[in-house]
Amino acid sequence: MQFIINGQDHALDLDSRTSLLDLVRDHLLLTGTKKGCNQGACGACTVLVDGERINSCLALAVQYQGRAITTIEGLGSTKALHPLQQAFIEHDGFQCGYCTPGQICSAVGMTAEIEHGVPSAITEDLTAETIQLTHDELRERMSGNLCRCGAHNGIIGAIQDSFVEGGDFKNNDAKEAAE
């Protein structure tokens, strides 16, 4: 099977039962992506496929051959943090950190959805061209990612603080320069 993970090509022989989550963790040793519930309820396994967020635990790897898959390792590193990773640190967006890679991948996918005008269950005007990024909108849109430490307020704060229109995130340096 042929995969594109974080821009790198991989060719592996896999059992058809292998989930996308087990592929990245057990076969490629990209252990940033976490296995929480393994049934789509917690969001810890969230990765991006062609820029869209999905639960990798419910995905058969075989179905995702040839698609551009991004895990947390593809977003940032300890030497070069993604702006959201920096914002999570500043906002106490985690305690134990287990849900964090999923939260961050999910937030990146969510940003793209907002830029594409995808409404949410609480969006008042379904036909509006642009979506107001309120606290409640963010909470609704991030409801597929649970944090058992209860860091949700920090998580929402981090996303709200680092989001800039155009589907990108501002990094801390840019923010300080702007201030």
Binding site: Q39, A59, L60, P119, A121
Partner: protein, 329 residues
């Protein structure tokens, strides 16, 4: 999970031929329900035929919209024409699951997803749906999420879809392709009530594939919305939900109304009796309540879900009142 062969079908015809040539094959869409069921050995296909890349377009026509069965749930809810003309459908989809799952789940798979009854999932429990003839532990168990309408002694499970409740209210037609050719069926006729065979959930024939869902046009004066009541504000299945399509004339009389309920039955529950009671009558709260009473007349509660009978009535009244008042779309 038992081992299986995987193959991606290049066309609907190829998928159907492939299914016909194998004893225990299943079609694979987004996999969000099927993979979970396979992991629990509730579903044990020996072959998966991937149909997720087939019929993945939304075709806007003058008198209808045709949604391919492979279209992802998010893409349906985000589609401009659907947001404008069928807000009930966009809202129902957005009220279901999480954003991650909506990005994976297909329209066809959403329709064919199976109940989330915990006794169906629990291999140690008796379940006539999982193993016919073994009994039902939900009937005397924790049945808060179970049926109040159309249930049988054999099964009190509910159909979990939000999208299907909207499709029922919109009079949607399902396009099917099988070894015997193409046919169509109303969405409301596709799912079965449990009766004595809760293991048989739909009217689909062996190997038949859902290829599309068609939404008939609505008069421009029609308003529609979806209201979902659940135990937490997001990412939970419905205790009760209501999809409502309402057309009121200038004299505040109901020209047309279509109502469907979710979370209450083994299938998306079209409220035909309530609709008949409302057509031609003044759009008032009292009439909404009368219609809700008529629809829930034969409702039967279990130990932990009797509250859903009154909840369903109030949700019908609230949803119709909302549409009649400010016309949320």
């Amino acid at each position: 999970m038992i081992a299986f062969d995987y193959a991606r079908a290049a066309s609907a015809s190829e998928a159907i031929a492939s299914a016909a040539s194998q004893a225990h094959a299943k079609y694979l869409g987004g996999g969000t329900n099927l993979i979970d069921l396979m992991r629990e050995n509730i579903e044990e296909p020996t072959a998966l035929i991937d149909v997720s890349t087939l019929s993945d377009t939304i075709d806007v026509r003058d008198d209808s919209i045709l949604i391919g069965a492979g279209v992802k749930n998010t893409a349906v809810a985000a589609h401009r024409a659907i947001r404008q003309r069928y807000p009930v459908l966009a809202r129902a989809i957005l009220a279901g699951a999480s954003a991650q799952i909506r990005n994976m789940a297909s329209v066809g798979g959403n329709i064919l997803q199976r109940t989330r009854c915990t006794y169906f999932y629990d291999d140690a429990a008796h379940c006539n749906k999982r193993r016919p003839g073994t009994g039902c532990d939900a009937r005397d168990g924790f049945n808060r999420n179970h049926a109040i309408l159309g249930a049988s002694p054999a099964c009190v499970a509910t159909h979990p879809s939000d999208m299907c409740v909207a499709l029922a209210a919109l009079d949607a037609t399902v396009h099917l392709r099988g070894a015997d050719g193409d046919r169509t069926m109303k969405l409301v006729d596709l799912h079965r009530l449990p009766g004595g065979r809760p293991d048989i959930e739909t009217e689909l024939r062996q190997g038949e594939l859902i290829t599309a869902v068609e939404l008939p046009a609505l008069p421009s004066s029609t308003r529609s919305t979806y209201r979902k009541v659940r135990d937490r504000a997001s990412y939970a299945f419905a205790l009760v939900s209501v999809a409502a399509v309402l057309d009121v004339d200038d004299a505040s009389h109901i020209r047309d109304v279509r109502l469907a309920l979710g979370g209450v039955a083994h299938k998306p529950w079209r409220a035909f009796a309530a609709e008949a009671a409302l057509r031609g009558r003044p759009a008032t709260q009292a009439n909404f309540r009368d219609a809700a009473e008529i629809e829930l007349k034969d409702a039967a509660g279990l130990r932990y879900n009797t509250f859903k009978i009154e909840l369903a009535k109030r949700t019908i009244v609230a949803t119709l009142s909302e549409l009649n008042g400010r016309g949320r779309s």
